[in-house]
Amino acid sequence: MSGYLESQLIILCLNVIYAYGIFLPAASGQLNLGAAGFITIGAYASAWFNASGVPMYLAIPAAMVFAATIGFVIAFPILRTRGVYMVLATFAFAEVVAGLIINLEFLGAAAGYPVDSHADYLVVVPVTILVVLLCFFLMSTRLGLAMRSIHDDEAVATLFGVDVRLAKVAAFTLGAALMSLGGALYAHHYNYIETQTFNVLVSIYILLYVLLGGTQTAWGPLIGAAFFTIVPEALRQIATASGQAWIAESRFIFFGAIIVLMMVFRPEGLVTRTLIDRIAMPFGGRSGPARAAGAV
């Protein structure tokens, strides 16, 4: 595989993993603007375990467990907040993490932190595929059904016996684990990390991938992350090939404009439940068991 394609594939895979980490809480109606915090934790934890002599294949799961524990612990206070308060609280959490790590000398502080073991695309790609499959599976289970019900109507879900807090905490914690997995893979692929890499823009972009992809089905984050990773890169390539530098310069302006227009014309995201139904049953109207169980 050519170096260029490989580097783009890695970026795509990492974005997809991050996106699923934000998607799980979003599917149950919680907006998490703290992606950067969990990515940072995963990256640094795995790098530190690795530097302390733990082989990479154990360091990454250990980092995930560590991040999931933190996610689980902060889930309880953070899930007490709602809506805009939750957006702000998760955002503040990410900033606190960045502030802490930049002051920890044993993690390299502001100078950044080199990482020993390398993970190439032969690790990253299969792991990404596993993550995608896991999320599709999860959304098809009764837990996934409960999460989607909470997204639609929390009070009614409670009355039908759904343990809303359990489902929300589970979604938030699993999301934290996935984002830390992405962070750990980032650390081991680039072999160097610094806190400035995972800034607030990263959190914003990942949340955008998910909301623009659509939170109703497990396809949303996959399509959202893929679309918004590939299209700007493709525009950059087109600009280079055609010699029209303005395309590359203004591609993010178009990106922003697309976001604004999408909220007008397709506010529920690129992939909606209805769209999946239409693709799965192109002739419509027919109903059978396959349709009954519905798309994931």
Binding site: G144, A292, G294
Partner: protein, 267 residues
Amino acid sequence: MADDVLSIEGLHKSFGGLKVIDDVGFAVKRGSRTALIGPNGAGKTTIFNLLTGVYPVDGGTMVLDGRDITHVPAKDRVIFGMSRSFQNIRLMPHLSTVENVMLGQHARARRLGDLLYPLGFRPRNRWATAAKEALEEAGLETYPGQVVANLPYGVQKRIEVVRAMVSQPRLLLLDEPAAGLNQVEAQQLLALLEKVSESGVTLLVVEHDMHFVHNLCDHVAVLNFGKKIFEGTPAEVNDDPLVREAYLGSDTSMAGRGAAEGAADAS
């Protein structure tokens, strides 16, 4: 009493100093079809919300099938055999009909193994099949895979009943099931509820449409300003002076008044 599926005693609830429910007590006999009626703002829906645990009570006890549920968390009450429908349809708009019904099964599937059971991967699994059968029994087999937001109002109302029924309740609470339905839809709903009742489930119905109440119910409790003012049979209710005063302060036929009110109610 052993044959009461639900008994409420001395129930109190205030919202910011306003007594919404004031010392209400009544019992619902097993297998009965009890109606809870009263003018707008009488506290009927509040009673449902207290029963299902949406709000905590300020005082009093609620006993469901011999078990005190007064302080049981809302999410656990459904396991004790009580399920409800809502005044304004509250199906999950982004879920399909079958998925909405499968949510009703949740009370029976709360163990970890059930939570991680893939409902979507194997279309013929037992949960989906059971949900489809429940829909078929209610005559709704033509809609299983559709997202409910786009279905007709009357169909959505019936799906709500099916969803409540699959949790296998002994007591079914129905909050204005006939409101907003046309004649045909109301008849279809009535038929469905008759069937539910014959299967042994007790019905407690909040309803404004007195024709509907007369057709369905065998027992009536009337609330006014948070107090119970009457309990008896539907035949007696029209003649009770307190009830007539509560509704109109005059002697206009209550049936006509109630039906007219049904559509515009927001209590």
